[in-house]
């Protein structure tokens, strides 16, 4: 399934946040979106996921939904968004309960996604008992449970320390190699972007416009071993961003 954003423009009050943004996420492709703070990345992702209506332009889906997908466009949040009163399996169960799945099948799905994210031993744990990395794994398991066609990830690793981030990045690469999910991946972290992105879309400071697109053809699985090449790419992306980031940093935000 493809996600197409066409000429998205959006305002908050008098401020233009997004200005005429068009992009496509192809089947099985991870598109990374980077840009200075406050340039509208989260807004763009909310529009892509149907959580917000753009002032102009449209978000479209193309192609058939994959078989058995319960929620083709599925979010992964920066702050995990787990219900603190539900156990790990309860949190995964939550998103299945509205779909009229028989209890036995639901249990099978939960066991399967927990196994795929190495969480089987923690099925009964409450979120407060888990580390940040574990919580985000639960959120990924929850997303996998609804068989998404496209994952919308808003800085999914930003709340984690750098070691945990490395581990989860490896997990994501393994997962992608196996399942070939498509994703729109918003991040601040250029290293994440060059490790995971097929394409990196660099947004300008507010109002967010597409500043440049960097394509990376290197297969995901090889990237961990070819860090030197990625380093040059990362520097290229940073060169594009530097001026924008500097300007954005000096701006006074008048929106709360």
């Amino acid at each position: 399934m493809q996600l197409l954003l066409q000429n998205i423009t959006h305002h908050y009050g008098g401020t233009t946040v997004l200005d005429d943004i068009s992009l496509t996420v192809d089947d099985g492709e991870i598109v990374c979106i980077v840009g200075p703070s406050g340039c509208g990345k989260s807004t763009l992702l909310r529009i892509a996921g149907g959580l917000e209506k753009p002032d102009q332009g449209q978000a479209l889906l193309a192609g058939p939904e994959p078989d058995g997908s319960l929620n083709p466009l599925t979010y992964i949040f920066q702050d995990f968004a787990l219900l603190p009163w539900r156990s790990v399996e309860g949190n995964v169960s939550l998103v299945l309960e509205d779909h009229g799945i028989a209890a036995a099948e639901r249990r099978a799905i939960i066991a399967d996604v927990l196994a795929r994210t190495n969480l089987s031993d923690f099925a009964k744990a409450l979120p407060r008992q888990l580390s940040g990395g574990m919580k985000q794994r639960v959120a990924i398991a929850r997303a996998l449970a609804v068989k998404p066609a496209i994952m919308l990830m808003d800085e999914p690793l930003s709340a984690l320390d750098s070691q945990t981030r490395e581990l989860l990045m490896d997990d994501l690469v393994t997962l992608w190699t196996r399942e070939r999910f498509s994703a729109c991946y918003v991040t601040h972290n250029l290293n994440e972007a060059v490790r995971l992105g097929r394409r990196i879309i660099v947004l300008s400071r507010r109002p967010g416009r597409i500043r440049d697109v960097v394509e990376i053809d290197m297969p995901l699985a090889e990237r961990a071993d070819r860090l030197a090449e990625l380093e040059t790419l990362q520097r290229r992306v940073w060169e594009i961003m530097r001026e924008e980031a500097r300007e954005a940093d000096r701006e006074i935000s008048d929106v709360a």
Binding site: L51, T74, D79, D98, R128
Partner: protein, 281 residues
């Protein structure tokens, strides 16, 4: 017990300093942490009773001003032996339970409405703010006309008294539910009802339960008022009767009964919080 800072004597620091001038870093943590000190509450309680009893026996507290605890206890024993205790308690508990339950259920329902629907908020919230401060005791004659002089008016007084604090606690709790969790529910395509049932209601539960603590106390306060007119039995009626006759020992005995009810209800709500809110740290 709560905000007690730990005081270290500087003398001990100086004493442990050795010749090379090494000394431990002064400890400045501690405090602001609750420790559970089991027997403190009963001890405080017993100490007050003992001082009071001693004061009465020695004549320092005049029996006209305040009867000794032993006399009040005698009145309680009297109540128990004549079997009136259960009649009074039964009548009062019935009114409390029915009035508080109905008031709480209605309060939660209306609070949810105000929390969830803009129209309900615009229409009902000013009404709640206007009616909450009205003393329900002042409305007792109205309640008697509307609901009869029997149980109706008494239950209604307690119901109205518990309704408003519950409304306010509930809609405040709904407002405080993490918006991100709601957005998560929406992003997974959960139905409106599921989001309310599985995300908003549990998220508002801490606020609702602390509302219960307040509304339960208000219910007990209103019990005495509700039993002011046309009540034959009831702890409130018993207290009012004792007051009218200046039978101070009975009055104190009745008040002790109310306190006991309050303690038990607080304990029950504590249990409920432990059960429903075990997910909190």
């Amino acid at each position: 017990m709560s905000h007690d800072a730990t005081h270290e004597q500087p003398a001990t620091d100086a004493a442990t300093a050795n010749e090379s001038g090494q000394r431990p870093v002064p400890f400045r943590g501690g405090g602001f942490v609750h420790r559970s000190l089991g027997p403190v509450a009963p001890l405080v309680f017993l100490a007050i009773l003992a001082v009071w009893e001693l004061g009465s026996r020695s004549g320092f507290i005049s029996p006209i001003a305040l009867p000794a605890p032993s006399e009040a206890f005698g009145a309680l024993v009297d109540l128990f032996q004549t079997g009136m205790l259960w009649k009074h308690l039964g009548a009062s508990l019935y009114r409390l339970v029915v009035g508080w339950t109905l008031g709480s259920l209605l309060g939660i329902a209306v609070g949810l409405f105000i929390g969830l629907f803009s129209l309900a908020r615009a229409g009902l919230l000013p009404l709640v703010s206007a009616l909450f401060p009205v003393p329900k005791i002042a409305l007792l004659p109205l309640f008697i006309i509307w609901f009869g002089i029997g149980e109706g008016s008494k239950v209604a007084t307690i119901l109205f008294g518990t309704f408003f604090p519950t409304v306010i606690a509930t809609y405040g709790g709904v407002d405080n539910v993490d918006r991100n969790l709601i957005r998560m529910g929406q992003s997974f395509g959960m139905s409106w009802l599921s989001i309310v049932r599985k995300i908003i209601l549990p998220g508002a539960m801490p606020a609702i339960l602390s509302g219960f603590r307040i509304s339960a106390s208000i219910a007990i306060v209103l019990l005495v008022a509700a039993e002011m007119i046309g009540a034959e039995f009831g702890v409130g009626a018993y207290i009012l009767m004792a007051g009218a006759l200046f039978a101070l020992d009975q009055l104190i005995a009745g008040v002790a009964l109310l306190s006991l009810i309050g303690l038990i209800i607080a304990w029950l709500i504590g249990k409920l919080e432990k059960r429903l809110l075990s997910w909190r740290t």
